[in-house]
């Protein structure tokens, strides 16, 4: 009878704890080898620092510009060339947020923003509900000087368990994030930066 009690007693700790809590969103995360929040933050931080310190992006001359010579940026897409499903707009948002707060650049709306603006202009012009004196019209948007876009790539390697590896399984993933800035008028590449990350997971016999 006592031995029948033994097993449940030993299994008890397995279900002992489950909890939900708020954590630090800035903490380093290594839940698994897949692309994660720390990778996003590292990529964004590197690109922000590089763009903020690039002499070639200090100003942009154009006859139609007044005193404010800051570079006007259209932030295009970031291609996901990895095998994972990654929402790369999140990288773009993080970079744009930090750059906007830094004050060096001006930005024009992305495709999503243009869609929203288009809907709103159509509403203001065509619904008859808006005071005509306050209704906004097209034709006064800023013209971007440069377009920023990039690619996230990865190389994955896996090594199965073997006697040689002592039963350990190895998963390795290398990420390379490249971002560049081209002049819209001349197509000249004005700035380019890349950031690499490597993540390796070694899993023992009883690991997942």
């Amino acid at each position: 009878m006592n031995s029948k009690l033994l097993l449940p007693l030993l299994l008890l700790p397995l279900g002992a704890c489950s909890s939900v809590g708020y954590g630090d969103p800035n903490a380093v995360e290594t839940v698994n080898i897949d692309y994660g929040s720390t990778d996003l933050q590292s990529f964004a931080a590197k690109m922000v620092e590089s763009m903020n310190t690039a002499p070639s992006l200090n100003y942009f001359e154009h006859p139609a510009k007044a005193d404010d010579k800051r570079v006007i940026v259209y932030f295009g897409g970031i291609d996901n060339s990895t095998s994972e499903h990654i929402d790369t707009t999140s990288i773009r948002d993080s970079i744009q947020t930090a750059l906007l707060k830094g004050g060096k650049f001006r930005f024009v709306a992305t495709k999503q923003g243009q869609q929203e603006i288009g809907d709103q202009v159509a509403f203001q012009q065509g619904s008859g509900r808006v005071n005509p004196a306050q209704a906004k019209a097209f034709g006064k948007q800023l013209g971007a000087d440069v377009v920023v876009y990039g690619t996230l790539r990865s190389i994955e390697k896996h090594k199965g368990r073997s006697l040689e590896s002592g039963g350990m399984k190895t998963d390795d993933v290398y990420y390379k994030f490249t971002l560049q800035c081209d002049s819209i008028e001349t197509a000249e590449v004005l700035w380019m930066e890349e950031k690499e990350l490597r993540k390796t997971a070694k899993t023992g016999i009883f690991g997942g």
Binding site: L6, P13, V28, V31, Q41, A45, E49, T53
Partner: protein, 140 residues
Amino acid sequence: MQALSMRSAAVLAGALFVCACATAPYGPQNTYSGREGALEIDREIGNSELAAHLELRDIRAERRDGRLHVQFELSSDLSATARIEWMAEWFDERGFLIDVPRHWEPVTIGPRGHHPCTIVGPSPAANAWKLSVRPRNEVK
């Protein structure tokens, strides 16, 4: 004999129970603060063991193109690999935090190795910095 094994099992289960609930606390951290033009940096040591083996040295700061650049080197005298993380915060002239995205950056320093780092003020207003260093505290 059977009573003894039951008691051992109960002790083992109890120990496992405690371990199952244990979560790694945030490790105490060390902070290093500097200001543009100041020769000295302030050290706030919350983790003396880390401070005994990990040094922040060769700190240089200068303003380039309107932004403060700070370069430093994290140097370890440990005979094993040091797995740490650091985070930089920036303040304006009046000491207010400049609110930009920030995060803990993981760094692995080899035995008796060093890791050079450069941080750049997120805006021209940034003229003071605070660097926090702590043992790696990953969300696993």
